[in-house]
């Protein structure tokens, strides 16, 4: 087993009754990577993460997380894995500091460099809320508390499920900075799920697009945009009229265009397809395939 690999999955499948939620996933994540699992609702993201967390038994496939099968793993393994859950109303009566103190105690016997409550509160920006009751926290503060609980044992691997769902743009940005700051310092491997593309693009250095229970794309945000949507849009104004042309080779198209029309070309723009265009194109392609399948 390679020590540089945090997560290794092959042939992963998961059925719920007759429904296939995951239809064969192979995946390798190196230590220290920040990877986003992106996909529309129902793509199988949460199920995949729950299998990796050891909370769910897959129908088939081999899973190795930090060198161990999560289902067979013991409490030592659990102590190396942080899970950031989306809190709802659990522990609402607890004081923030009391809850973190209880959580940090869980990690003490495992020889980890466990966070002190004060340091942790400072790092997630909740120092002022130490004595507050959890139910009085704002949405953003609560999410910070979720992160604090996830990282209190300084995990080697951190799972974040839909980390910024329900946060306003300012809180989102703060959250991203928080996670980046924390994991950069500690070389933590992070796997996050999201259905928000902008989120994945900003947070992760690698994106896996999951759709219909399979990984349909894998790469850095730039590479994905290049590979999937290889077309570029060229826009210009010709004799006062707006023109648009999509092409795989913008450079030669523009060269020809200007050669043929030395005058009268204005407002020339070359727009590379964004990751969003690529993603939407891909999801649309699958939806149309499915519709065909139904009508047949």
């Amino acid at each position: 087993m390679d020590d540089d690999i945090a997560i290794e999955v092959s042939g992963l499948r998961m059925d719920y009754g007759a429904t296939e939620v995951i239809r064969g996933i192979d995946l390798r994540i190196r230590r220290g990577e920040i990877v986003a699992l992106l996909g529309p609702n129902g793509a199988g993201k949460t199920t995949t993460v729950e299998i990796l967390e050891g909370f769910r038994e897959p129908t088939a496939g081999t899973v190795r997380v930090l060198g161990t099968d999560p289902l067979a793993a013991g409490e030592d393994w659990r102590a190396q894995v942080g899970v950031v859950l989306q809190s709802w109303r659990d522990h609402g009566r607890w004081r923030v500091a009391d809850l973190l103190e209880l959580m940090r105690r869980a990690y003490l016997p495992y020889g980890r460099d466990v966070y002190g409550v004060d340091d942790l509160l400072r790092d997630v920006g909740l120092s002022g809320q130490a004595r507050s009751r959890v139910r009085t926290l704002s949405g953003g503060q609560r999410r910070r508390l979720d992160v604090a609980i996830g990282i209190v044992g300084r995990p080697a691997l951190l799972f974040l499920d839909e980390p910024t769902a329900g946060l306003d743009p300012v809180a989102r940005r703060e959250f991203r900075e928080l996670v980046h700051g924390l994991v950069d310092a500690a070389e933590t491997t992070v796997l996050l799920t999201t259905h928000d593309l902008a989120e994945a693009e900003r947070m992760a250095d690698r994106i896996l697009i999951l759709d219909g229970g399979r990984i349909v794309a894998d790469g850095s945000p730039d590479a994905l945009a290049r590979d999937i949507a290889s077309t570029t849009e060229v826009r210009w104004r010709q004799d006062g009229e707006r023109r648009v042309h999509a092409t795989a080779d913008a450079t030669s198209f523009v060269r020809d265009l200007l050669a043929h029309h030395p005058h009268g070309i204005d407002d020339l723009e070359i727009v590379r397809a964004s990751l969003e265009d690529a993603y939407l194109a891909m999801v649309r392609r699958r939806e149309s395939l499915e519709t065909e399948g139904v009508t047949r």
Binding site: M103, I149, D161
Partner: protein, 284 residues
Amino acid sequence: MTAILTVHAVRAGMRRGAVEFLNSLRNATDVGFWLVGAVVTVVVLWVLRDEPVADLGISTAQFIFPGLLAVQMLVVATWGVAVILATEREDGTLLRAKAVPHGTTTYFAGLAVRTLIETGVALLLVVVPSVILVGGLLDRGPVALSALGILVLGFVALLPLGLLVGAVSRNPRAVSGWGLLVGAGVVVVSGIFQPLVTMPEWVQIVGQVLPLYWMGLLLRAVLLPENLYVIEIAESWRVVEALGILGLWAVVGMLVAPPMLRRMARRESASVLERSRQKALERV
């Protein structure tokens, strides 16, 4: 090594239980529930303090007092625990516990400790004022002290039942509503307010299967005048049978509960939680 880790988790659980109890003291609804329950019980005993039971030479208050202690235990250690467990599964407390090392052990140790403290407080809230106001309740002196041991045994017998009910239900509102109805039925068939011997035979059979009857019987055996065994089934306190059956409930409960709870905890996950959250929101 595993044993040391388990001890560590249980100690964390004691801390958890203590914090939970202190948090509950700051909650007006919880405190109100305890106080109203205690006040109602004490008032009932006070009203019935001079009401004689047939020609047994004791008051109705004296007769029902031991059974009321058993009922208090049922309310806190069985019904209360079932409601808490169902609620905390639904709101994600248990999932959070599961995500940290030995967290489930800590959680259940915490729930047991919290319930033990609450049971003690609930009993004191009833016993102290009623002994002062009503009189004649603890006349047997040192013998009455053995009631403490019976209460502890009863706690061990009734707590696993609450955990099991909480573990099979996913809906705290149903546990709390239906649980009260079922609990009231159990109280009736356990001969708490009316000697079981005066009830139809099938009721006597059902009652004698349940732990509450035997707990009430044992408490009467040590708290009522000795010669009152004449109002019991078989005209006997049946102390050996009572200890045996209550002990059996305790042992079976302690054997069955841990694997059931582990099974239940294994099934907790974010997606299961999300489904119950959606359901709960639909109801609101």
